[in-house]
Assembly symmetry: C2
Homo-oligomer: 206 residues x 2
């Protein structure tokens, strides 16, 4: 029976991966991030990823059914790493809005350090079609978790969740405009601070 390895990482019901398979998966993601860091979305060429990670092209496709899947998975892994880093130094702002803005700007500065990698991941994310929905959703959940963390909320109201979604929208889209050179870093900062005001709007009492 054919069982795709592709979603073994996400789906809890699929058989666990062998050690060598885990290693392959890590090698692939590493190669992907490395190539992306060099030249962005276009520099991540499937043949090169396969070669760099010492895996046959067919195998690469067995692990990640498309280039977009691969890059979204790369983003997942980077996000996890970032969430861990952010946790270590919680934001210092007084209000929830300040803390969220601070956290997002910190994340933004991290992305700035590898702009090509950011480009590849964000382009993949917004270019993803329905077949990548589960993975993109996972990224979205992770982002939501980071924002809720910064807000320090346990049980957000629907109103607050909507605000968080809007913040995420702004975050992604601002990132896109910055990456394509249509907005400055200062502008991104202002936009993030602006949208974060919504938080105060949705929780008048603390």
């Amino acid at each position: 029976m054919e069982v795709s390895i592709a979603r073994a990482a996400a789906q809890p019901d699929t058989p666990p991966l062998t050690e060598r398979q885990e290693a392959r998966r890590r090698r692939i993601l590493h190669a992907s991030a490395q190539l992306a860091s060099r030249g962005g979305f276009d520099a991540v060429q499937m043949r090169e990823v396969a070669e760099s990670s010492q895996v046959a092209l067919g195998t690469l496709y067995r692990y990640f059914p498309s280039k977009v899947h691969l890059l979204v998975a790369t983003m997942q892994s980077q996000l996890e790493h970032m969430h861990g880093t952010l946790r270590k130094k919680p934001p210092s702002g007084e209000t929830a809005a300040e803390r969220v803005a601070e956290t997002l700007m910190r994340a933004f500065r991290a992305l700035q350090r590898e702009p090509h990698l950011a480009d590849a991941m964000v382009r993949a994310l917004t270019f993803a079609d329905r077949s990548v929905s589960p993975e993109v959703d996972q990224v979205s959940r992770q982002t939501t978790a980071i924002i809720l963390d910064a807000m320090g909320l346990e049980n957000p109201t629907p109103d607050q969740l909507s605000a968080v979604r809007v913040i995420e929208h702004t975050w992604h889209s601002a990132l896109v405009t910055w990456l394509s050179g249509r907005a400055s870093i200062a502008q991104v900062k202002i936009d993030i601070e602006t949208v974060c005001r919504l938080i105060d709007l949705t929780s008048p009492r603390d």
Copy 2:
């Protein structure tokens, strides 16, 4: 001397197009929109666009240097049309926030009628790299104009412009999540209404 026709439409300094060239350009955009309406981004194949618009492939590329350029131009032309339509029936809301939300939801419903076309245009827009910046910027300006129109503002403050940018971010990103099936129409509506509250926040006095 070689002069690219591609940006003749946008750049005011390039020589004007012949009538036959205008006609070619229109045929191309029409074919692009038609194919996009049928099957979205993937269905817009350059060879097919060329054939449908009775133009050689090389000519198509002379007019639009890439598929993304073509689709962004398609979006420009659709947006112009929509701006005209929206102007005819101004939104009825009391507050600026209500009017903007109403306008955007109206635009959203228009896109819903041709979801494949919307998909093609939005995917192209967010996938566009730096080489398409001028064209994407033009689309952004057009969108800004629509929103400012709905607000009924002549001289927006910097604060208000930032709010408008955030609204645009939300609008694009919400559209993307809806198109990829990760958000319902109801959710898009809520998010747009949520972000529009920012308008009231930035203009305490009328």
